[in-house]
Amino acid sequence: MIGFGPISKLARSGVLGMNSRNLDFIAAYNPRRFYPLVDDKVITKKLAIEAGVTVPELYGVIRYGGEMNLLEKIAEKHRSFVVKPSNGSGGGGIMVFNGVAKTGLRRMNGQIMLWSDIRYHLNNMLSGMFSMGDGSDQVMVEERLVPHSAFSKLAFGGVPDVRVIVFRGIPVMAMLRLPTAESDGKANLHQGGIGAGIDLVTGITTRGVQHNDSVDVHPDFETPVRDFQVPSWPEILDLASRLGHHIGLGYVGVDIVICEHKGPTLLELNARPGIAIQTANLRGLRPLLLPIHKLPSVPEDVHQRIEIAHANWNGESLERFLAPGEEMRRH
């Protein structure tokens, strides 16, 4: 491609731009009719269970304002749970509760949210205020995941998660997202969370970024964010690869929480995963995606797919994974 200096430098680094992501990967690999499967978290949960993947237990679904007493019953029974709009995105509307008081429910920061405020918030969620698309939504109430103790000095006031980009069922890049005081306990990067690049083979973090700037230590704990071994790494890759293969979407972001009790657990799927993961890994996605794009077929066996993922990350040729008689696709 001809272009002026800075742009061609960007091209050489293999960065995947938004336009190319949308056309070459999302439009080409993600049929629109499968979007509801990942946009609706209740459906995603069913699919994940089919694929043999651990998910947070669903306590109930609230569809109308009148079903509000359901929440009181669940609160009575489980005490610790999460309320979220089923079609939400970017963490909008999510409330995490870990206890019940007379006047309301206790939030993670210890404050009590009054029942009237909760009712108002639920109504907002039901009217679709936090949801993709227009119109109303339903509210799901699910088990609260407790982050793995290895993160006690790395995640401030929230749940860290691992985002894995899975292409044709093969994990291609991953990052660890750590909430900070600034991000208000949310792991989203644009809200000020830390993104740490992960070596896809070993599961060890390589570097961290916050707001697009490189950071070495977590600002709230002063603990280093690089060279951290993500627990249960092989299981994480296994989960991501299984799920990515099972659903009809070729290019997905799989968000995984490593739960203290349940191990790697699926949080949500994303049909349009962001491209910031490249900055966290200081590596462009394009050179990792193209070899997989050229594979004429992908093995059914999850272990073989993970082998491909390792080779691909190390920059090895994927020729050896071709079935006898197969040839690489041209373009």
């Binding site: 430098k9 960007l10 960065v15 336009n19 056309l23 970017g90 109504n123 009217s127 644009h190």
Partner: protein
């Protein structure tokens, strides 16, 4: 496969557009640049009155073809009335008659005005004569016989103006300046002693000019203006300079643009006269049509290529043309959006918000627009935050914001009117819904992604609206769009091409700078 298909479509679109365009320009002579002076106008008069059950005769003064314009295509709509035109020494008139008229009635008159190319106007018109009992020779004689204060003051004023000036034109300007000062002794003497009507500045100027021997007359007519349809009757003066009548401001004697003045009656003749009716009212409106070069091209087109006219927007009625002038700019707005989003990567609320905002600015002018927009959005945001505290449901809350924004706009319009600022008309067209949507989206972004993100997007939307505004208000682009709508096919082609643009956005260069620079070090 998809690529080649797309390229074929794009090629065909561009070829078709350029083909039609060049045919229209080279063969039919359609003008490529708008000819802003020689144009045609449509004027309309609406006369309403009440009859008393008696026979009605109503005389309406009409513009004539003697000045800058030729009047053609006159039509009258007056059901039940007999109509004829009549030219008397006081001008052209339409005479409407009916045996008996009871209750209210409305009559319409409309005509087309074609600007006369002054190079071909016949200049064999007789030179008029100044009409006055006080011209120099008479005045001198009168002063010798009987030096009344009026005559002395008049003489002194005229002499002073003459002394202070060099040439006819500056004499007139000096005279106007002297005449405007009513507190001056000589002027007040003239007002007291002269004919009764000259307490009014423009009548006084006419009186003085005639006394000085310069033929002058008082005019009532219409100033042709592209911005408004309503055209109130205005007064000005005309004086004879060299060999033409010059239209000029009645107080300052500053010449007016002849191509934009349409005289209807002279010397305070009435616009409507007659008997058998009362409570009469006349309202005038004007609209600009397309250039005469264009109509000549259209005429040529109807001989050689009838399809050109059949598909031309210029064959539509004026009202529809006005609608399409705005409508046809929307494809361009869409193109701007595609470039801003796909190639530059500007953050903004919603997809077409910047263009909608720019369309709103078209009504208000850019600076007022930005000020109004920021002000109303700020008020709306504050209110929304307050409604949030009241814990209202989503849709009622939006509705409440909408209602309050309506009130704010009403208030601004009233305040503007009270302070004599002309915001009233423009703000009423300022789309309410766009503002409300902006407020809602902005406060959502504010809550979820913080103030910086919301500000970034708000600024992005405004920044996108500014270039869009300049494009949507350019007279040349408007001309191109309505005269050569086929060129919009090229816009379509470009948009289609950009639809398969997989290159980087400009903002991504900044976003991934580290990666680009990291590549430098390793290679």
């Amino acid at each position: 496969m998809k690529r080649t298909q797309l390229l074929i479509i794009v090629g065909a679109l561009i070829a078709a557009a350029l083909g039609i365009f060049s045919y229209k320009v080279t063969r039919l002579g359609f003008p490529v640049v708008p000819n802003l002076d020689s144009d045609t106008w449509t004027i309309e008069a609406k006369v309403s009155f009440r009859g008393r059950g008696d026979p009605v005769t109503l005389r309406l003064a009409l513009p004539n073809s003697e000045g800058q314009f030729t009047v053609v295509d006159e039509t009258f709509v007056a059901s039940g009335f007999g109509v004829e035109t009549d030219t008397t020494e006081i001008g052209r008139q339409a005479v409407f008659e009916r045996r008996a008229q009871d209750g209210s009635a409305v009559l319409f008159y409309s005509a087309k005005l074609i600007a006369v190319d002054q190079r071909y106007a016949d200049d064999a018109r007789p030179t008029p004569e100044a009409v006055s009992d006080y011209r120099r020779s008479e005045r001198r004689r009168a002063i010798e016989e009987n030096a009344t204060p009026l005559l002395v003051a008049l003489d002194s004023i005229l002499t002073e103006a003459l002394e202070k000036s060099a040439g006819e034109r500056s004499f007139i300007t000096q005279l106007a300046r002297l005449s405007a000062d009513e507190d001056e002794d000589r002027i007040s003497t003239i007002i007291e002693g002269g004919p009764p009507e000259i307490s009014n500045a423009s009548d006084r100027l006419v009186f003085l000019l005639n006394a000085a021997g310069t033929p002058a007359r008082h005019v009532q007519g219409i100033i042709l203006d592209t911005d408004t349809r309503q055209a109130p009757l205005t007064t000005w003066v005309e004086y004879w300079l060299g060999e033409t009548w010059v239209s000029a401001n009645g107080t300052t004697a500053e010449p007016l643009n002849d191509a934009r003045t349409l005289p209807i009656v002279y010397d305070r003749q009435p616009i409507v006269a007659g008997d058998g009716f009362n409570r009469v009212g006349v309202s005038w409106s004007v609209a600009r049509n397309f250039e005469s070069q264009l109509s000549r091209a259209m005429e040529r087109g109807s001989e050689f290529a009838p399809w050109v006219n059949a598909t031309s927007l210029l064959s539509l009625p004026i009202d529809l043309q006005l609608v399409f002038r705005v409508l046809l700019l929307i494809p361009l707005g869409a193109l701007i959006i595609v470039i801003l989003k796909q190639v530059i990567g500007m953050p903004a609320f919603g997809t077409f918000m910047p263009v909608l905002i720019a369309l709103a600015f078209r009504e208000t002018q850019l600076f007022t627009g930005i000020a109004l927009f920021t002000g109303i959005v700020a008020v709306g945001l504050l209110l929304r935050a307050y409604f949030n505290q009241l814990q209202l449901l989503l849709v009622p809350r939006l509705a409440a914001v909408l209602i309050i924004v309506t009130f704010v706009m009403m208030f601004i319009a009233l305040a503007g009117e009270a302070m004599g600022i002309q915001t009233g008309l423009s703000i009423s067209l300022f789309p309410l819904v766009i503002i409300t949507m902006t407020i809602e989206r902005m406060s959502l972004t504010w809550e979820e992604d913080g103030a910086t993100e919301a500000m970034k997007k708000a600024l992005g939307s405004l920044a996108g609206a500014i270039p869009a505004y300049y494009i949507l208000t350019s007279e040349y682009i408007e001309h191109f769009a309505i005269v050569f709508p086929e060129l919009l096919l090229i816009v379509l082609a470009v948009v289609l091409l950009l639809g398969r643009y997989t290159g980087y956005k400009v903002t991504e260069y900044y976003r991934f700078k580290v990666l680009a620079n990291a590549g430098d070090k390793t290679s």
